[in-house]
Structure formats: C-alpha cells, structure tokens
C-alpha cells in the first residue's frame, strides 16, 4: 500500500516516542537504576516547580513580544517595500537571509555581539561615551517573576533579526495580491496614503496576519536552539523555556531525570494541543 512506508516510520519515530513519554512520565527514574512507578507524582511536583513556571512564562513573553513588536514591524517593512523602491530585491534578500542560517551560527554570532566587555554593543556604548562601560547583556537575571529579564529581551532582538524577514515576505505576498484597481478607485475618491493603508491594505491583509500570528504561536512553543545557547549564562531558574528545560532535566550532566522530564514534555504537548489544535482546525477547514 502507498501509505505503509510513511506510516511505519512515522509510527516508530514520532508516535511511539510520544506514547513512551506518557508512560515514562508516571515513573520516577533518575539516580536509581530501575524506574519506580509513582503515578502522577511527577506532575504534582511540576506544578510546584518554580523553574517550570518560569520556563512557561518565558515562552509566553517571547510570544507576546513576537506578536506585539515583530509582526507590526514586518508588516511595516513589507508595506514600505511594496511602494516603488530602489533595489527592492536587495532589501528582501538581505532581510530574509538569516532564515537560511543555522541557529547555532546565529547564536554564536550574537553572543559576540552581546559579549559583556568587548562585544559590539558594549564597544559601541564605549565609543559614544563611557569608556569603562561593561554590561553582562546575556547574564542579567529578571527582577520579577512576570517581567522578562534584560537577557531575554536581548535574545528577543536576535529572534527578531532571525524571523522578521520571513514574516515580511509573507506580508509582501499579501500586499501583492491586492488588486491595483482598489487603490486607483480609492485615489479617485480622494483617499490619501494613510487612509488607503487603513481602509484597504489592512483589511485585505487579515488572512496574512492570521497566518503570521499562527506561525508565531506554533514557533513559540518550539524555541530551543537560540535560548539553549544564548541564555546559558543565566541562573538556572531564569534561563529556560519549556524545550530547554525538558532537555536539561534529562541530559545535563548529573541530571538524568527522565521520568520528570517526560512529565514536562507531556505537559508541553498538552499545551501545544490546547493552544494550536483549535487554530489549525479552523485553518484546515478553510483550506
């Protein structure tokens, strides 16, 4: 049958691990050689685990940042480029370029940019003023459980650098699909550029905004590489998002808490399904 090979691999490497996680999450399995059945104890512990909540909070904070800052800017760049622009392709190529780079490379590059004593940001501030200025950009813990740390904000800038071009391309396609007649009609009616943006472009972009926001939500649950590499200098209770916490619980030296990590993984799946499933179903029904 046509489906069989795909199904076999998918079942073995995607579905089995998920079922395995669910099973493992019911065991205490760490220092001891043999897993011990503890029913839902791992979940109860997780709900009291402040690092877990901070990780979830960090996911949420990055998501809010993406929706409130990154998306409007992507749309603005796209709008600017949709007017007659010199070297439009050059701009588009350059803004999109970080998307093809490995995240590891981006993380390393930006760690140098944010280096506390001789990073580019620090050096720039030294150039314009204070010669002795140094600042641990990527090692500043947050001051409140509900606020992002300075370091998370710095990493967020890198995230924007990586993804803004991608969202911009989405908006450019959305704007390009608006028929020229609409603008012409609006201009004949005496509308100015701002009114055109507000009453023609924005409504026409609604589906694109929906796609771009959906991708941000899905993507926000998958943050790993950048945070894992760039936030490593932060204290343990501050540096995690969900995916990095799961990884560190299981694979950091001396941890090996497979049961507990699996419970966190199952909660992440649950969150993903609750948040993403309704959005995806609506999208698929439309498509």
């Amino acid at each position: 049958m046509f489906i069989l090979p795909a199904l076999a691999i998918y079942a073995l490497f995607v579905l089995t691990p998920i079922v395995g996680s669910a099973r493992m999450s019911l065991f205490e399995w760490g220092g001891s050689p043999l897993p011990r059945f503890v029913a839902f104890k791992n979940y109860a512990l997780l709900l009291k685990d402040t690092i877990f909540w901070r990780a979830l909070m960090n996911n949420a904070l990055v998501l809010v940042g993406s929706l409130v800052i990154q998306l409007p800017f992507s749309a603005l760049f796209a709008l600017f480029l949709s007017y007659k622009t010199c070297c439009r392709t050059l701009f588009r190529t350059a803004f999109f370029a970080p998307m093809v780079m490995p995240t590891v490379a981006i993380a390393i590059l930006w760690q140098y940019i944010y280096a506390p004593e001789d990073g580019l940001v620090t050096k720039l501030i030294q150039l314009v003023g204070n010669d002795d200025f140094t600042f641990p950009w990527l090692a500043m813990p947050s001051s409140s459980p509900f606020l992002p740390s300075v370091s998370l904000l710095c990493i967020f800038v890198t995230i924007c650098w990586q993804y803004t071009g991608f969202h911009m391309v989405l908006y450019m396609a959305g704007i390009a699909a608006i028929p020229d007649e609409l603008y012409e009609a609006a201009r004949i009616d005496g509308a100015n550029e701002l009114q055109i943006c507000r009453h023609i472009v924005l409504p026409a972009l609604k589906p694109t905004i929906a796609v771009s926001a959906t991708l941000s939500v899905i993507g926000s649950l998958k943050y790993f590489d950048l945070i894992y590499l760039m936030a490593a200098g932060l204290p343990q209770n501050d540096r995690e998002v969900m995916a990095t916490y799961i990884y560190r619980l299981a694979f950091d030296q001396g941890q090996g808490r497979f049961g507990y990590g699996s419970a966190a993984a199952i909660l992440l799946i649950a969150i993903a399904l609750v948040v993403v499933l309704p959005i995806q179903l609506t999208r698929l029904r439309k498509a």
Binding site: A6, A97, I108, V211
Partner: protein, 281 residues
C-alpha cells in the same frame, strides 16, 4: 504588485528609502562584521572590532581547517540530509497520493494522525528517542544514522500535507484519461501526478533540506562525538576555541558563507520553499 502611487511625494519617498537603508545596515552588519573579523589578527579583532582589517590574514581559516573537523562535518551533514530528504519525500509522495486520490477506510483518521505531528514540538520526543535509539532497543545512537528516523519522521507530516494539496488539484478528467489508456495506480502516480506536482516537490525538498541541514537539538542529543554534523561541529569549535574571536568568526564564515552564496543564487526558490513550507505546514 505595486502600491506605487501616481502622485507620491518626493520627501516621503526619500524618508522611506533612508529608513529601509538604516534597517538594512543594522540587519546586514553582523554578517559583515563576522566576515571582516575572520580576516583579522586576534589582537586586532579584540581591540578594533569596527575597523577594517589592518592586514588581511588567512591563518584563522588555516586553524579552522586544521583543528575543527569541518570537512568531515560537511560530509556527514550532506550524507544524512540527502538520504533523509530523499526517503522522506518518496514516502510522503506515495502517502500523499493515496490520501489525495483513493478513498479507503480510516483515511481521515490516518491523515489527522499525520497532521498531529506538525503540532508537536519536536523536543518532547528527545527523551524517548534517546532510549529507543539507545543500546536497549535499536542500538544506533551515537552513529550518524540515528538522525535518519527522527528527521524523516518529522519531515513526513508537512511533506504529505503539501504534496496532497498539489495532487488533489490534478483534474479528474486527466486521471480518468490515464486510466482509460491502461495506466494502473502506480503509472498514474509516476507519469501523471509527479510531473504535475513539480513545484510542490521543489518546496518540500528545499524546506526539508534546510530544516535538517540546520537542525541542532536531535543532533546534540543523538550523535556520538565522532559523527558531528555541521551545527554540532560549529558548536564544538565554539566550545574549544570560543575565546579566540577571529578564529571562531572564520569557523562561522566557513559554515554560513556557502549557504548564503547558494541562497543568493537560488533566492527565489529558497524564499518560496521556506515560506510555503512553513505556511502550508
């Protein structure tokens, strides 16, 4: 294509260009800086980060090729990515063909099962996969091929969705005509469906290849020390020689510049592949 107005103002056009240019500089500068630093002496790289190289040197690259294992890593990445993409796309095409054109029991349930894979953050499978590929079960952990299963498995949902979309736009008359001419399902698949879905195949191949090429978490967890892929080799190099700014920038350049060159030449296809892959997936 254009919002270009017949009577736009000169000043606003200039302001718009100035703004875009500033964004371009901020956006491109990190890469520019990386490339320049790769040619500097270490002391100079530390002392004058914004200057052009006083003397252009190649010894950083020599160091990268001698101490880093980048040749080997390129080969590893190429092997695992090409294999995984080929297998994933072939299997996905077969499945997508069935989902698009055949009516069979459990079709919707199976299709939804595949789609669920796209909503699952891949990192939740790290722990069980580590066990599944480990000595107790499949015993291929540490080898390069440990990556093939997860790479293919997680490439399937997106690929099936996109290819199914392309196959289901093939007009029924065409399929009927092929059948009347004596084609069986396999012939229809090979000679009608695949050629007509070429753009979708391009999207799927580019999207999956780049995703795998840049993949980090699975490689970090499942590979042994002798089988690094490119991102892991880069991460290791940073770990060992990270205090040497110029050398690490050379290593970054060795990994990033070839990708960017390919990107510049094939940007139309790559931009389309990455956006369509993400949006439709």
């Amino acid at each position: 294509m254009s919002l270009m107005s017949l009577h736009h103002h000169k000043t606003s056009t200039i302001l718009r260009h100035v703004f875009l240019l500033i964004v371009l500089l901020v956006c491109a500068y990190p890469l520019f800086w990386m490339a320049l630093t790769a040619f500097k002496l270490e002391a100079e790289a530390q002392a004058a980060p914004f200057a052009l190289p006083h003397r252009w040197v190649l010894k950083n690259f020599a160091k990268v090729f001698n101490s880093g294992d980048f040749g080997h890593a390129y080969l590893n990445s190429l092997l695992i990515c090409v294999t995984s993409v080929v297998v994933a796309v072939v299997f996905a095409a077969c499945a997508a063909f069935a989902f698009a054109l055949f009516d069979f029991k459990g079709r919707n349930v199976l299709f939804i099962a595949f789609l669920l894979g796209m909503m699952i953050p891949v990192h939740v499978t790290l722990i069980p996969l580590n066990l599944l590929l480990g000595p107790q079960y499949l015993n291929i952990k540490e080898s390069l091929w440990a990556l093939a299963g997860p790479y293919i498995g997680f490439a399937l949902p997106v690929s099936i969705l996109i290819l199914r979309g392309a196959f289901s736009t093939i007009p029924n008359e065409l399929l009927d005509a092929a059948r009347i001419d004596g084609c069986n399902a396999w012939d229809v698949f090979r000679f009608v469906a695949i050629p007509l879905a070429r753009p979708a195949f391009a999207t799927v191949i580019i999207f999956n290849f780049l995703t795998m090429w840049n993949e980090f978490a699975f490689a970090l967890t499942l590979l042994g020390p002798d089988n690094a892929t490119l991102p892991i080799a880069l991460n290791n190099f940073k770990g060992e020689r990270g205090m040497y700014l110029a050398e690490t920038c050379a290593a970054l350049a060795v990994v990033v510049v070839p990708l960017l060159v390919i990107y510049i030449f094939a940007q139309k296809h790559i931009i389309k592949g990455l956006t369509a892959g993400a949006v439709k997936g």
